[in-house]
């Protein structure tokens, strides 16, 4: 059994009307007035906004008062890595008595730049101070820079070089070199 055309038109009409029939259950003059009142209020209480601004300002001030921390991060220390005063890689160097001792590579490469290195070391120590606050301080004896060389000292330690014998060149030697 099927519907006739009039029934079908009626069903279509009723389905369409049924899709948009109804009335709001929770919207009315009172709810709209309440929503308007709520939306007209400032989102944040004034005192809360002021407190937030002050808190941010305090945090910025606090951060700026600790420049060492930021200096440390610029120095490139990986986060979480321990801070140490370990010297750089060592290379062997002969000592006067013939033994092989280790010396810092940087010192060998730039033996007369002690002031720059000392400043860097002082900065690193100062930077690490807040981190090691409360720990007993490690006292290190002062290291005096080596005395500079004078002509008198050079005279007292003459450098003896054994004689080198060099035979004079001949035309036959030159001919042999060209063939090679």
């Amino acid at each position: 059994m099927t519907l006739d055309r009039d029934d079908l038109d009626r069903v279509i009409g009723q389905a369409l009307t049924g899709a948009v029939t109804g009335e709001p259950r929770r919207v009315g003059a009172a709810s709209v007035r309440q929503a308007l009142a709520e939306s007209s209020r400032p989102a944040l209480p004034l005192w809360l906004a002021v407190a937030a601004v002050l808190l941010v300002a305090f945090a910025v001030t606090l951060r700026e008062s600790w420049p060492q921390r930021s200096g440390l991060s610029v120095a490139g220390r990986p986060e979480g890595a321990p801070i140490s005063s370990a010297p750089g890689p060592s290379i062997p160097s002969p000592t006067p008595d013939g033994e092989v001792a280790a010396a810092p590579a940087a010192r060998v490469a730039r033996p007369f730049a002690p002031q720059v290195k000392e400043q860097a070391a002082q900065t690193a120590v100062a930077a690490s101070e807040p981190l090691f606050e409360g720990l007993p301080r490690l006292a290190i004896a002062r290291l005096d820079p080596p005395e500079s060389l004078t002509p008198a000292e050079l005279d007292s330690h003459p450098l003896d070089i054994e004689g080198i014998e060099i035979s004079p060149l001949t035309s036959s030697d030159l001919f042999t070199e060209q063939n090679h």
Partner: protein, 184 residues
């Protein structure tokens, strides 16, 4: 306030009479809700849009010049808010007509077999409505609210009145064609 016109209510509300705006809300909330329902086909969302519509209307009350009816003006706001909802993609779950909201099918004869058949056809009609092109579906559902004439619907949708007529005609023809095997 029963005998006061919409225009007079708006005038009073513009001059700061809160009771006048309350009356506007009470008079038109059903029509606004149905317009939103036609667009969204979800009652919760339609209620939200109805509320938002009156809040927007209150704030823009000073812009109402009386060039259209108050109901048309409100319906246009509701339609725009509904389109915002659609665009934001909040309403992916709405694309189904709720069965409890569909009215019982009135039948001239109390024939049980006929009533059952009409019920199954009703379900099919709802599915076919969902398959209509969006512009046809919006138009025919808005027209089915019975709250606005074609001219007002045209203003609400921002198209010509003739376009509304042709869309309604085409939508009905598509539905009949899709359901012709159910008809004798």
């Amino acid at each position: 306030m029963e005998c006061v016109t919409d225009e007079e209510l708006v005038h009073r509300a513009q001059n700061g009479d809160p009771a006048a705006f309350d009356e506007i809300v009470e008079r038109h909330k059903d029509a606004v809700f149905r317009a939103a329902l036609a667009a969204l086909r979800n009652r919760e969302d339609a209620e939200d849009v109805t509320q938002e519509t009156f809040i927007t209307a209150f704030r823009k009350l000073h812009t109402f010049r009386g060039e259209s009816q108050v109901r048309t003006w409100l319906s246009r706001i509701a339609w725009n808010r509904s389109m915002d909802h659609r665009r934001r993609g909040r309403l992916r779950r709405f694309l189904r007509l709720d069965a409890p909201d569909a009215p019982e099918i009135a039948t001239a004869q109390a024939d049980p077999e006929r009533v059952t058949l009409a019920g199954s056809v009703h379900d099919r009609v709802r599915r076919e409505i969902e398959r209509l092109p969006l512009n046809l579906r919006d138009t025919i559902l808005l027209a089915s609210t019975g709250d606005m004439d074609y001219a007002s619907i045209a203003r609400t949708l921002g198209v010509r009145e003739g376009t509304i007529k042709s869309r309604v005609f085409e939508a009905r023809a598509l539905l009949r064609s899709a359901l012709k095997d159910a008809a004798r």
